[in-house]
Symmetry: C2
Subunit: 244 residues, 2 copies
């Protein structure tokens, strides 16, 4: 059975197979080696993610899960009193929800590599601009997410990873190392541009490689075409697939 890599998260995961997306790039890397499955739920926070958990990762399933990225927090960190209040989850609960997600994954697939990813930074100006582009003068003048509040969630995400001995990607910090991150990496102050997707892709590949899940080092499922003798093709396949 081909190994599976599941990307579990909110809209930033759901959109990861759009042109230039980090999920598609990962699927390309693991082509002929592992299947990359998108389980991204736009607008979801960790509280709602818990309802999906046992359905997406059923106990006792034969699913050959080798790795999962858990990428929530952008919606949990929506401010109370803002237009995203409905999505808000207190930071303590966010951390405990992430812990329950990890525990379930480890229970259902004991050898799975779990990688926690923090929400990206927030460009508050970009968010307000985006709201104005949608709603004109009726747009809210108050930020519904702030970079400062998202930092609090990112910190708890990284701390939980340390507590549990898991790798993590501090996207909130990483992106802000680059000047002009606001427009370079974010399309609407929150979601990712092609450059922003490239950052996530690069970081996930780095973490996977460090954990021994390097795509270039994994074997191909079947012979490379150049190893097939045009006049005696059976030979190449007979060795690898006795049942063929």
């Amino acid at each position: 059975m081909r190994p599976q890599i599941v990307l579990f998260g909110d809209s930033i995961t759901e959109q990861s197979f759009r042109s230039g997306g980090w999920g598609a790039a990962l699927a390309d890397n693991y082509s002929r080696k592992a299947d990359v499955l998108v389980r991204g739920y736009g607008g979801y926070n960790t509280r709602w993610a818990l309802f999906l958990l046992h359905h997406i990762f059923p106990m006792g399933s034969a699913m050959p899960l080798v790795a999962a990225t858990i990428f929530f927090g952008a919606n949990d960190a929506a401010l109370l009193g803002g237009t995203g209040e409905r999505q808000h989850v207190p930071v303590e609960e966010y951390k405990e929800n992430l812990r329950r997600i990890v525990q379930h994954l480890k229970n259902s697939s004991p050898t799975v590599l779990v990688v926690l990813i923090t929400p990206p930074p927030i460009d508050e100006h970009g968010r307000l601009e985006y709201a104005r582009s949608l709603y004109g003068d009726k747009a809210t003048k108050f930020p519904e997410r702030t970079n400062e509040m998202t930092a609090v969630y990112a910190k708890q995400c990284v701390e939980l990873a340390k507590e549990l001995g898991l790798p993590s990607i501090n996207l909130w910090s990483k992106m802000q190392e680059t000047e002009g991150w606001q427009k370079k990496f974010l399309s609407d102050g929150l979601h990712l541009t092609a450059d922003g997707n490239a950052v996530v892709h690069e970081e996930v590949v780095k973490v996977f490689n460090e954990a021994g899940l390097s795509a270039p080092k994994m074997p191909y499922d079947f012979p490379h075409h150049s190893a097939i003798d045009g006049k005696n093709s059976e030979k190449a396949f007979h060795n690898l697939c006795p049942g063929a």
Copy 2:
């Protein structure tokens, strides 16, 4: 179990999850509805594809396969006497190999939608230019594939689809309807540019829609976030997932 759509083919399928690729675009369309799995084997012809068939689509598998694209022929049509001679498969055998692939799919998954895709047209000048960019003066001066020969394979592919009552995409014809197809759709005289990928994507979506596998009409796996009551989230999930 989430439905699966498998893309089975040669390098044009293998590369379909690169940026702007038709496979990734399809995975994005079917996000939260079906998994799109890439089974692309660069350099492979239909003769070699037969060796993989029972491994990729095992009989009696619980795989919930709803659709498969079969996209071979670009290598089968490589000319005898050219640098791709090793990959050449006579056109009669190409057609019979495709038939065996379809029959196996129908045997293993009786309700599966099988779509045959012809090879794209060949820009012979683009192929020679590409060889020169790789090998300079040592590059072959003779085409290893011709547009005329590829047409013969495309025709048999479409005829087989008619015989078997399957939908097909005549990419060879379709692409040549657009002026400047040589550079607009092909990056090296054979493989696809982003525009070429968009043509394949559009045609596959059209065929899937006509066959009743329209992504917009398929239900979401879980509630849209806007349907979740922030103060009583259990309600949205209790209705859909009694076991949650």
